[in-house]
């Protein structure tokens, strides 16, 4: 094995672990982390690489694969965190990622992470993985939890029964990680040899069929290490495996050595580097044909018989290795908590109460830091930059768009977006870590079922309150394509963090103002909450109508694993989600807000005739805007703010001032500004012709309009279809116009003065 790339660096000589993060250069070995969902794979991954891959106490948290690296004793290891899978037979989108990697990525070592307190269930997957690979390590994670539940596992017996090394760990507390690393190293280098247990239990007819196919496969791929397993999959009609055979996609490794296993990982979707000599196509087709013929001879229910056999074997192994000491109290505690959180009387009130609490904390808590950031970025740094640029002699046509446009938009996004996100996400993560989210899905399933949707849409909807793009990606946990589309299309109706500030500002100025002073805050908060709840209501309504029109179909099966409750880690959560949010907000500010700011500056400073471009557009949009209770300024702001919803309000303010110049307010054209106080903002808006109706309609429109560009792009990536992307963009806009029009017309009918 070639170690020269690494032999030169000093720390590699030491027999200790170096966490290399995402630095994956010169890795000699590829290590995969596989396992059932929610067994702590990502936690193990983080412990090994020093990265901060998201973890969460619900199955389906990781939906794509993540990579990192670590070094130990002169060797570099590339580690791949895979989405959880219950087996290697079913294929939902997230599971396919894991399965394809194990099958075709041919990792040097597969670490199978299992939950020590549910060993029997986890062994189902372990036995399946052992069918396709020899080089595996069992990471017996969550040992602390098992102990708490009075479960003891005899690791020696287990290792002997499985034929692979077993390492007990408690990844969350870093326990057992050094041993795990050493074992992985030893297996990779061959210091430990594995002799995995292969499940028999096949009928003689099936055995014969497997041997026939396997024999023919070996003729074509002499180095295929898991020919029996491939044959079995072919007999089971697995089209992904059949495709791999047809394209001769198997990487020949290790003993065959046609390709060094240190080369870059193959893409799972495309054919890999072709083996030296590709077998003739007709030969491959003949094998497939043979398998198809034999399939009908061995009988159709053999799949069930196989799964049953694997489970029986898992039960046998587990019964030898697991000793439950006593009926543990942790189990009782979980059960009692579940009875309360899902009870007929308290279930819903607790859910709504927690929702309100999170929102209230976010809205109230964000005020102060927001003002602080804004003072810093706008009041201090901005004038400094401007003066500096002026004194150096930067011409206005550069200074304008960059500093007055781009920088200010960026500053706004950071000061307005960051605080609510930095509060919301940690709170959300705490609930998530505790294990509450799946209970929400459990409680709400009846409603989603009524709407023809999947109960797990509750999970993706809740994620959407943080960020719609994240919510859309999370939709991968939904198996059925129809229901996944429903969840993706409606995710935008969850009021995301980027839109909270708009809601809060408008509610404070206009709704708060119509109530007596001592109630103003409450009324404003209630206004925001009603809009958020309206979003939930519309999610149901739209899902319902879509599943009766364009997305017709039967409600598919629904299964939801309810994980055990786990005490969340406060500090760790705060730390990771803060870092994480900071990065996201900064990235968005640079990538989206900055260019948008430049555009704003340009449209207000490029003149055609006597008026700026912005004025022309606003005049043209005014009739439409006013018909739906808004105005031209707002519509233009929404067009400019497609990349980032969070700059709608500053754009609106700036454009309003542009249209109705007020002495002493605002800066020059195209300069985003933050009014010193609420009173200024109020006066700008009322001068611009705003009424309570305008504010109410804008609050509605901010809920019901197209998703931001990141979300649109994510929807396209996730659905792979322009058709559905277009629908998810146009549907909310159309709804927004409709609802605003109805509200405006209704209000005007009652109060003609509006």
């Amino acid at each position: 094995m070639n170690t020269s790339t690494c032999g030169t660096c000093p720390q590699s000589r030491a027999a200790r672990v170096t966490r290399l993060g995402i630095d994956m250069q010169g890795c000699q070995y590829v290590v995969a982390l596989a396992g059932n969902p929610n067994t702590g794979k990502s936690t193990v991954f983080n412990a090994l690489t020093g990265l901060h891959q998201h973890t969460g106490n619900w199955p389906g948290k990781t939906v794509a694969r993540a990579e990192g690296a670590f070094a130990y004793q002169d060797r570099r290891f590339k580690l791949v965190d895979l989405p959880g899978t219950y087996s290697l037979m079913a294929t939902s989108i997230d599971e396919e990622v894991a399965r394809d990697f194990l099958l075709f990525g041919q990792p040097d070592v597969t670490v199978i992470v299992v939950d020590a307190s549910r060993l029997e269930r986890n062994l189902n997957l372990v036995l399946q993985v052992l069918e396709i690979t020899d080089q595996a390590v069992l990471c017996l994670n969550l040992m602390d939890e098992a102990r708490r539940r009075g479960i003891e596992v005899d690791t020696d017996t287990l290792a002997a029964d499985l034929g692979i090394p077993v390492v007990p760990t408690a990844a969350r507390f870093g326990k057992g990680i050094p041993e795990l690393i050493r074992t992985v190293h030893d297996v990779a280098t061959g210091a430990i040899a594995c002799h995995p247990n292969r499940v028999g239990g096949q009928t003689p007819g099936l055995q014969r069929a497997v041997q026939t196919i396997s024999h023919r496969l070996k003729e074509v791929f002499p180095h295929l290490s898991n020919a029996d397993w491939v044959s079995l999959r072919l007999l089971d009609g697995d089209s992904r495996v059949a495709e791999a055979v047809r394209r001769a996609e198997f990487r020949e490794t290790r003993d065959g050595g046609t390709l060094p296993s240190t080369t870059a990982l193959p893409e799972t979707s495309s054919p890999h580097e072709a083996p030296i000599s590709k077998p003739p196509r007709h030969q491959l087709e003949a094998i497939l044909e043979e398998a198809n013929k034999l399939r009908w001879e061995v009988g159709l229910d053999f799949h069930e018989v196989l799964v049953e056999g694997v489970y029986a074997e898992a039960a046998r192994i587990a019964s030898r290795a697991v000793h439950a000491r006593r009926q543990a109290s942790a189990e009782d505690w979980d059960r009692r908590l579940d009875r309360i959180l899902t009870s007929r009387v308290l279930g819903y009130p607790i859910m709504v109460g927690l929702f309100l609490l999170v929102i209230w904390l976010t809205v109230q808590g964000a005020n102060y830091p927001s003002a602080l950031l804004s003072t810093l970025l706008v009041d201090h740094i901005y004038p400094f930059l401007r003066n500096a640029a002026e004194s150096v002699g930067v011409p206005p046509w550069i200074r304008g768009p960059i500093i007055d446009g781009g920088y200010l938009a960026m500053a706004w996004v950071v000061s307005v977006m960051f605080p609510p996100m930095a509060i919301f996400f940690p709170l959300f993560t705490l609930l998530e870590d505790f294990g509450y989210l799946p209970r929400v899905a459990f409680n709400l399933d009846r409603l989603f079922r009524w709407a023809g949707a999947h109960g797990k849409q509750a999970l993706t909807m809740t994620m959407g309150f943080g960020c719609n793009a994240a919510g859309v990606v999370a939709c991968r946990v939904i198996d059925s394509p129809r229901e996944r589309l429903l969840a993706i299309i409606t995710n935008n109706f969850s009021l995301c963090n980027g839109r909270w500030p708009t809601q809060v500002l408008l509610a404070t100025i206009f709704l708060g103002a119509i109530a007596p002073a001592y109630l103003a805050g409450t009324v404003a908060t209630l206004g925001v909450i009603s809009v958020a709840l309206l979003g939930v209501f519309i999610t149901f309504l739209v899902s319902w109508s879509l599943s009766r029109t364009v997305l017709r179909g039967e409600v598919s099966t629904f299964h939801l694993e309810l994980p055990p409750y786990r005490p969340p880690r406060l500090l760790q959560t705060l730390y990771t989600s803060l870092i994480d949010r900071t990065l996201i907000v900064l990235w968005r500010a640079v990538v989206f807000a900055f260019p948008a700011g430049i555009v704003i500056w340009l449209v207000s400073n490029i003149h055609i005739g006597n008026h700026s471009l912005a004025e022309h557009v606003i005049r043209a949009l005014d009739p439409l805007g006013i018909a739906v209770g808004l105005n031209g300024v707002i519509l233009l702001a929404y067009i400019i703010a497609i990349p980032a919803n969070e700059i709608v309000i500053p754009t609106v303010l700036m454009l309003t001032v542009l249209m109705t110049p007020m002495p002493g307010v605002g800066a020059e054209a195209g300069v985003l500004f933050e009014p010193e106080d609420m009173a200024t903002t109020t006066s700008i808006l009322t001068q611009g012709g705003w009424t309570t109706l305008t504010a109410a309609c804008l609050m509605l429109f901010s809920l019901l309009h197209n998703p931001c560009s990141t979300t649109i792009y994510t929807i396209y990536k996730e659905t792979g279809s322009w058709k559905w992307t277009t629908l998810s963009v146009l549907l909310p806009v159309a709804l927004g116009f409709l609802v605003c029009f109805l509200v405006a017309s209704g209000a005007r009918a009652i109060l003609p003065s509006l």
Partner: protein, 330 residues
């Protein structure tokens, strides 16, 4: 960016000539159906089954004759030629593969399979066909139990026989549900019948057939019974449990039962999924608590809580702890 396939489909529909082709292909299919039942077809049959006027039907037949796809010996004796039979078989093949696909890979309900497959069959290219068949793993029967002709034109045998031919008291397995006429098919579906479901025949009456299925006694009209094909079988343990009809949905909170099998109505990915989660024969399962609105219910399966909706729980057959009360046995 490639043109999306749905657009091509619609474009295909709008293109002149496609309507003609649909009629031609449907006419040949009708002829094939009749011939395989040993019947012949006349112009009236064509007109009524294609939904066109007599004149139009006449014109279609004449065109097909010119194309060498059928021959007319007498006015009533219209016969497909070898070539005509081949075209018809291809359409039958496509139709049944689509039905299989719809049943296995989409959530479309059973009564929609036929209609949807009929829409798709005339727009399916040879590549689509190959892709479809390959992805389904070269199935031999469609979800109604009808044989799917192979690419070479060989047709697997239709299994079983009409239910009237069975003896009362016999245990049988549904082997085929004829999907036309629709009313009869719908009646069978409404009783939860599907290919693979075990039943026991009680009585073949003058107007009705009475049988036991999934723990219930059902009566179907003689007319619907025409569409029901069965084969005789010794029941396996899972099939016996299915006949008894005790499911997870019939367990009360805190009770337990041992899984015997999953209904054949659960297909494709969904079936695999339930098996993977541990709903395999032999698993002992307890419903622990339910959602505030009654359903879903959280079941403890091999140490983990898994929530299922009511209709799904009703498709997983169990044997209750007392070893199986054979309530349905008369």
């Amino acid at each position: 960016m490639a043109i999306p396939s749905w657009w091509k489909r619609w474009w295909g529909f709008l293109r002149p000539g496609i309507r003609e082709r649909v009629l031609f292909e449907d006419a040949l299919k009708l002829l094939h159906d009749r011939q395989s039942e040993g019947l012949s077809a006349n112009i009236e049959d064509f007109a009524s089954s294609l939904g066109v006027s007599r004149q139009k039907a006449e014109r279609i037949i004449r065109r097909l004759e010119q194309m060498g796809l059928l021959v007319r010996s007498t006015p009533d004796g219209i016969q497909a030629t070898e070539e005509g039979r081949r075209v018809a078989l291809r359409i039958v093949r496509i139709h049944r593969l689509w039905e299989r696909y719809l049943a296995e890979e989409t959530g479309l309900p059973a009564h929609d399979w036929h209609r949807r497959a009929h829409e798709l069959e005339h727009l399916t290219t040879d590549e689509d066909l190959e892709f479809l068949e390959r992805n389904l793993g070269f199935p031999q029967y469609d979800p109604h139990g009808d044989p799917i002709p192979s690419a070479e034109g060989s047709v697997p045998p239709l299994r079983g026989d009409r239910i009237e031919r069975a003896q009362p008291g016999e245990t049988l397995i549904v082997s085929h549900l004829e999907d036309e006429p629709q009313a009869s098919y719908a009646e069978l579906l409404s009783h939860g019948l599907a290919v693979g479901i075990p039943i026991r025949l009680n009585r073949v009456g003058e107007h009705e057939v009475r049988l036991e299925s999934q723990g219930q006694t059902v009566e179907i009209t003689r007319q619907a019974a025409e569409n029901l094909w069965v084969r005789r079988a010794e029941l396996r343990p899972d099939q016996r449990a299915m006949l008894d009809g005790r499911t997870l949905a019939s367990l009360r909170i805190g009770e337990w039962g041992v899984v015997r099998g999953i209904s054949p109505r659960v297909r494709g990915l969904q079936r695999t999924r339930l098996l993977d989660l541990g709903f395999v024969p032999g698993s002992r399962i307890t419903p622990e608590f339910c959602s505030p609105s009654g359903y879903p219910i959280a079941f403890r399966v091999r140490g983990t809580l898994i929530a299922l909706r009511r209709d799904q729980a009703g498709l997983i057959f169990v044997e209750p702890p007392d070893g199986g009360s054979h309530a349905a046995r008369t």
